[in-house]
């Protein structure tokens, strides 16, 4: 069986956009909620009942073809830092990490499929892909779901669909979401309008990082709110349409910013580069916001290829539990900020300064096309 250190050693393909265009849509994720027909839901079940449910589910889950040599652990057997690292990687939910006896996580080797056992529902299954790939993520999970249905008797109602602990998940039990990087829409003050339009269609939008209403790093998550009354197909089609529209808006906003105010864009990216390369103390808020701009610079061609990937890996690695795991001990907030700065400096050590002229040159009409 896979060890925690092996699981966590490398970033998953989906975390750094391996094999996909993830410049605007970083990841696509599907989550399905399922429950056993004859066992009380985890939140209401007594300890022995939770154990029993786990004993029923775990062999079926571990026997899935995709879970060959998977990581499979009861949460009680993990340290709180290990659990927190998994939360920061989106492999388990914050709620799941807080649950004790009888809860487990089974995670496929490439971290693209993760099953939480005894979360709020008996089974919370997720599939993540880099870029815009909701459909592929759903297909993967639907196949797993069907496979499990052969082994487990699931709670299903002909009117209400898959029965879930909370009625907000009834029906398909499906939450589909995409994570988007929208710095140009934020810089050009169009983000409010765009997100408002998204919300009007009945989709939920939230900032990915940050407490309450703040959104750090210009990262947003768009997801469906309604799970009942529409098929998975309908929900996915609407999300795909809306997400690709938002992505197009962001692309257009990037082009327009470069055209209208290249000095401002260059300044922002240059400053982000300067801070990240030379800071010795940096809190996560400042780091996220500068990494966002560096990531934008990478996509616009100010910075060499691979910059976007480095930024994505850093977004993951500078989070508090990752820092603790990295240094192998409990850290004070001050220590965290200096270790964070050290890691960022290290990773960006050989990154050349942004090449502003290359952008200008690309814009000039007499430029030879570099294709063909």
């Amino acid at each position: 069986m896979m060890r925690f250190s092996t699981l966590i050693r490398n970033p998953a393909d989906w975390m750094i956009g391996e094999g996909a265009d993830n410049a605007v849509v970083l990841t696509s994720r599907i989550r399905l909620a399922r429950n056993l027909k004859d066992q009380p839901f985890p939140g209401w079940a007594k300890k022995e009942q939770r154990r029993r449910a786990l004993e029923i589910m775990r062999p079926a889950v571990e026997a899935l073809p995709c879970m060959k040599d998977a990581f499979s652990q009861e949460l009680d057997d993990l340290t709180s830092v290990q659990k927190q690292v998994m939360v920061e990687r989106h492999l388990i939910s914050r709620e799941h990490a807080a649950r004790g006896e009888g809860s487990a996580a089974v995670i496929e080797r490439r971290q693209s499929v993760a099953l939480m056992l005894n979360e709020e529902d008996h089974l919370r299954m997720q599939s993540i892909r880099p870029g815009m790939a909701l459909r592929a993520a759903y297909d993967t999970l639907a196949a797993i779901d069907t496979e499990l249905e052969g082994e487990l008797e699931l709670a299903f109602d002909h009117e209400l669909g898959y029965l879930t602990t909370c009625p907000t998940n009834l029906g398909t039990g499906m939450r589909a979401s995409a994570m988007l990087h929208l710095p140009a829409l934020v810089l050009s003050d169009q983000i409010g309008q765009v997100l408002q339009a998204v919300n009007k269609i009945g989709l939920a939008v939230r900032g990915l990082y940050g407490e309450g209403t703040e959104s750090l790093g210009n990262l947003f998550q768009i997801s469906n709110q309604s799970t009942l009354g529409e098929s998975e197909e309908t929900i996915l089609r609407r999300l795909e349409r809306v997400i690709s529209q938002v992505a197009t808006h962001e692309r257009n906003a990037r082009d327009k910013l470069l055209e209208d105010d290249p000095a401002m864009v260059s300044d922002k990216i240059g400053r982000a580069y300067g801070v990240l390369r030379h800071a010795w103390i940096i809190d996560s808020k400042e780091a996220l916001n500068h990494l966002s701009l560096l990531r934008l610079g990478g996509d616009l061609g100010f910075l060499p290829e691979g910059t976007v990937k480095s930024c994505d890996a850093l977004l993951m690695d500078i989070q508090p539990a990752h820092l603790q795991l990295h240094s192998g001990r409990k850290l004070s907030p001050e220590e965290r900020d200096s270790i964070r700065a050290e890691i960022v400096r290290g990773r960006l050590q050989s990154l050349e300064p942004p090449d502003i002229r290359s952008i200008r040159k690309n814009d000039s009409p007499d430029q030879e096309p570099d294709m063909l």
Binding site: W44, D157, E159, G192, G210, G212, E230
Partner: protein, 169 residues
């Protein structure tokens, strides 16, 4: 209104979407600053989303105050449901059917499942949904005193019921 964090007088009011529910958050200046709400890049996401949009407010539905009941399978009571607004087991959805239907009113795009069905339940699922549809139409036909149509619908319902009974026996 008081600050949700420290109880001082609130100066910053935010509306946020959390897990599909709308939450109002009030913060004093200190806590707002602490939480980065005043940061120029940390803007009031939901306020923008909801400030001008008519997005329907999610008000928790008061659940009927009927006699105290408990789910025979898991012991979950109506009081528990009122308190946590979640269910105890699959059978709770039968025990507290009316309350469940009340709670989901306005929560989703519809109130009838039309997505994936577990392996092996498809045929039964289609029959059940068809039966419910026919029964609805029968009620309508009776109300409209359209007896010819009602008779036809009754026949069709009986046939499906018979087929289900035969399969189950």
């Amino acid at each position: 209104m008081d600050c949700d964090i420290c109880g001082k007088k609130a100066k910053v009011h935010l509306t946020q979407l959390v897990g599909g529910e709308i939450k109002k958050i009030a913060l004093c200046n200190d806590c707002a600053k602490e939480k980065g709400v005043t940061d120029p890049t940390g803007f009031a996401l939901a306020e923008m989303l909801l400030g001008k949009s008519p997005g329907k407010p999610v008000v928790p539905v008061p659940l009927s105050s009927g006699p105290a009941r408990a789910c025979p399978t898991c012991g979950f009571t109506l009081d528990d449901l009122r308190r946590v607004r979640r269910f105890g087991c699959a059978d709770c959805y039968t025990t507290f059917r009316d309350e469940a239907l009340q709670m989901i009113r306005g929560m989703h795009k519809g109130n009838r499942h039309c997505g994936k069905v577990p392996e092996g339940l498809m045929e039964l699922h289609q029959r059940t949904q068809r039966l419910e549809e026919l029964r609805g139409r029968l009620d309508q036909a009776v109300i409209a005193e359209n007896y010819e149509e009602a008779a036809g619908l009754r026949d069709e319902i009986r046939q499906i019921e018979l087929a289900v009974a035969n399969r189950n026996s």
